[in-house]
Amino acid sequence: MAATLTSSSPRFAHQSEAELARILDFYGVAWRYEPDLFPISWNADGAVVESFAPDFYLPEIDIYLELTTLKQALVRKKNRKLRWLRQLYPEIRVKLFYARDFRALMVKYGRLDFLADVAAMNGNGPLNGE
């Protein structure tokens, strides 16, 4: 069942995810938070050693969204996981939102105060590139 942001909303890993959920709610786009876990690597015994759970699934649009506001080194790791995901599950659509994409959204919506708050919590400069 698709979610909307309420008092019983999922526990988001990052404030930016909650903000994206609010944007989706605002525009009436249904979403689910981390609904699926995709195995992407296995050991010799066939046990799953690495998985990828995209942050959001938009059922009406049939697309997964992964939002990353992480440091560049971690972004590379996430890019690698996403590449594997796309190779192993070519039928699913995943869009990766980088920090710069999220920042651009916040600028577009005049939410620079939110960016500053998040940056302060992360101990980062407010609007610098990754």
């Binding site: 649009i61 697309i63 609007l127």
Partner: protein, 184 residues
């Protein structure tokens, strides 16, 4: 002359005018004898709409809508509100939605659902600028002026903080204007 807050002119006034004239001619050909209604979304699209309809020498009508934007409305209802609805019925009409820019597609996705409920004969989309890099909602664009890169653009109706709409060209806003360092 380039505005001091503009980093780069992405599309000159002449380029924009030439493309708008082409789009107008194409639309006029496609909609000859069909009496379309062009629905535009305030405020960014009004300059594009004004130039576009003057390049369409066919019978047509126009209507305007305005919807609340996320940032301005986060403290109120938490959902899109129609600030200005259509003035006339579009039931059975051939509708052309005229947009200045399609970015995430979220606003247009909402509007299309709203307009479909009013049972027009058809809805097609004409946008001046298509910025597909951050598209979330898939939008089928029937008439496209330009596909542009992922830059913050202003001018020809597009604003930042309600400024710059009157620039005759499409320019890239200097990141320092909105407090950002230049992205890598």
């Amino acid at each position: 002359m380039m505005h001091a807050d503009v980093e780069e002119i992405l599309l000159s006034g002449e380029e924009v005018q030439a493309r708008v004239a082409e789009l107008g001619a194409q639309l006029a050909g496609d909609y000859e004898g069909r009496d379309p209604v062009l629905v535009s979304v305030l405020k960014g699209s009004i300059i594009f709409l004004a130039d576009l309809v003057r390049a369409m020498p066919i019978p047509l009508s126009i209507d305007l809508m305005e919807v609340s934007s996320y940032g301005a409305a986060t403290e109120s209802s938490g959902q899109v509100r129609i600030l200005k609805d259509l003035s006339t019925s579009i039931e059975g009409r051939e509708v052309i939605v005229v947009e200045d820019i399609i970015d995430t597609g979220l606003t247009l996705n909402y509007l299309l659902r709203y307009l479909h409920d009013k049972q027009p004969a058809s809805i097609r989309i004409c946008c001046l600028l298509d910025k597909p890099a951050r598209r979330l909602a898939p939008i089928e664009i029937d008439y496209r002026g330009f596909t542009i890169p992922d830059r913050f653009v202003i001018g020809y109706g597009l604003d930042y903080g309600e400024r710059y709409r009157n620039l005759p060209y499409i320019g890239v806003l200097r990141p320092s204007v909105y407090g950002a360092a230049t992205p890598e």
